[in-house]
Symmetry: C3
């Protein structure tokens, strides 16, 4: 019932893989490559040109790569100069600016805004309405909830921009502000509506405005099937690479333990 191929515009030097479907009213600009079996929803713009395009005669449209098996829901805008891995899954109305690198198996929720010049690992999940400021760095398996903003300017407005850096498995609950340049270790949990203004080590549970260290996440009295819930990968598998075998087995198979 979908994919009527109505009113689609496809630019030059566009490489479209096998079995790709493109929704009505979508625009694929020049120099875009889309991997096999990917789906682009209606009204989307892939390879949106940078600002120079409008004003410079010598504009060079950067290459845009979307991996295989993407499901990009309707009204997405992905700028030229972004590189996205396989199995990418998005909500609606996402905006991703230039020089964003996203790994494999990531989920970007409805109305997220990734402002570019940012690196995102594999299996990262942003829920709806997450803002990722420029020069942020997000490792594998990070999960970020609605209305969180990763800021990059510690004395706004200034020209010294530096985004936060989040290490693997860290979780940022809803409506939290991460101040510019802060670093969180692996397996941290930041409570909802916090303001994080300094660095924290692996396994920190921090909370509040300004955020304070509360305890090690492994001490948190949150349980799943009678066992401590954190670190969460032991208890949450949906869409994770350890989905079938369990996190412990999977981790061992990597030779990490």
């Amino acid at each position: 019932m979908k994919f009527n191929n109505k009113n689609i515009y496809i630019g030059q030097n566009v490489k479209i893989g096998k079995n790709v479907k493109i929704g009505d009213n979508s625009v694929i600009y020049d120099n875009v490559t889309i991997g096999d079996n990917s789906i682009i929803g209606n009204n989307s713009i892939i390879g949106e040109p940078l600002q120079e395009y409008y004003y410079s005669k010598n504009y060079n449209q950067p290459i845009t790569l979307i991996g295989e098996n993407a499901l990009i829901r309707s009204n997405a805008i992905i700028y030229a100069g972004s590189e996205i891995g396989s199995n990418f899954n998005t909500g609606h109305f996402i905006t991703i600016r230039e020089n964003t690198t996203i790994g494999n198996n990531c989920i970007i929720g409805t109305k997220c805004d990734i402002q570019g010049y940012t690196t995102i690992g594999n299996y990262v999940r942003l829920h709806s309405f997450v803002v990722i400021g420029q020069y942020s760095n997000i490792s594998n398996y990070v999960q970020i909830f609605p209305f969180v903003v990763l800021t990059n300017d510690s004395k706004p407005p200034s020209n010294e921009l530096l985004g936060p850096q989040l290490d693997e498995y860290t979780v940022i609950a809803s409506s939290t502000v991460l101040l510019a340049g802060i670093k969180l270790g692996k397996h941290c949990l930041v409570g909802a509506n916090s303001v994080v203004n300094k660095d924290y080590d692996d396994y920190s549970f921090i909370n509040g405005n300004p955020a304070k260290y509360v305890c090690d996440v492994r001490k948190l009295p949150f349980f799943t099937n009678g066992k401590r819930h954190y670190p969460w990968p032991y208890n949450y598998k949906k869409g994770m690479p350890w989905e079938e075998e369990g996190y412990g087995k999977w981790e061992k198979s990597l030779g990490n333990d």
Copy 2:
């Protein structure tokens, strides 16, 4: 000047009432029913298919119902499997996912995101940018302001999702987080930028991060025409069923008092 019937796509088994207007570039998918005198703005998608649609041969498109006299502004996305009452009024760029039930006379503001599996009563108003997590339950006459999120996961990420439950006439001021599963009684007021982490009885005014009980809303020194402002239905009529007769009279007419 509008409604040129350009580039509209209408699926199969779509029932469109009398005097319905559909904006340009809009898509109405299969099994959608739209009540009489409704207006669907440009670039909208009604009956957006669920994820299974893209991957399963046996996909069954659920029924979508939009009541009469709707005014759904442009760029709305309403998933298949939603049921919405009469006199529905929305802003732009709203997203409503499957298994959302919305009563009559509701207003959903610009860029709201209702994530599905949720029940919303009558005369509910969400202002712009409200996020309603799955498994939330919102009673009649509730009002929610911008950047509020109703969360549903108390130890993210987990598989035990449970949304908040808001009873009639309760008001949630801007930028507040309601934690998973909390219950607020009738006529509560939650101050702006709060984090609510437990249940509160009828008439509670609560505020802060974490929220604390402040006083009974009936004690709040906020006045309208010299009378206490809360409970607000005595003092606010716009769009309410007691508009002509006043809240007291209306309430009596129901035999409630």
Copy 3:
């Protein structure tokens, strides 16, 4: 590669300046004027009609003015009855309602929501996801960061709406709530995730929920090239009218000092 003039609708009494470019699937309603050299991105709606349009036979479409050299990115919705100066620059998916007056050289970030009946000066910058409630008043050179909301109802819901008033050069960091009717002087800085519930004088640095006065911004130990960073116009020039000559010289040239 862009601007294929596909599926564009242009109403009556529309005045389009020289060298204007309009993206595919965009709609320009009646009584809109667009200045020379302006660019309107794809899927935009300029002159969106007010609610009366749908229900009244005598609807009068107000005039909409967009100045010269605008760059309005895709999926913008600007209501009829707005007046916007020259060099306007926006992100995607912005919504601007009726009776909004915006000066020259303003930047409105992706997914901002300006709810109308509001005056915004020159050189104002709203980053992504800023909500400006009705009856707000924002002076020149103000900068507002993501997820900030300017509220206008101090006892919601009520009919007594009054927005905040921000004087020149004031900066509101991310995720802050400004309560209805508060006034901030010139050169103030409000820290991230604050709730501002009263008025503050020029040069105030305030922070917290509820916000408290911390110190004069000129005492803040934030430095650029060895000099105090605040007041910021001495240290930040990008896009500002003093770009070439420096803020001090520019200010003197105005005879202000």
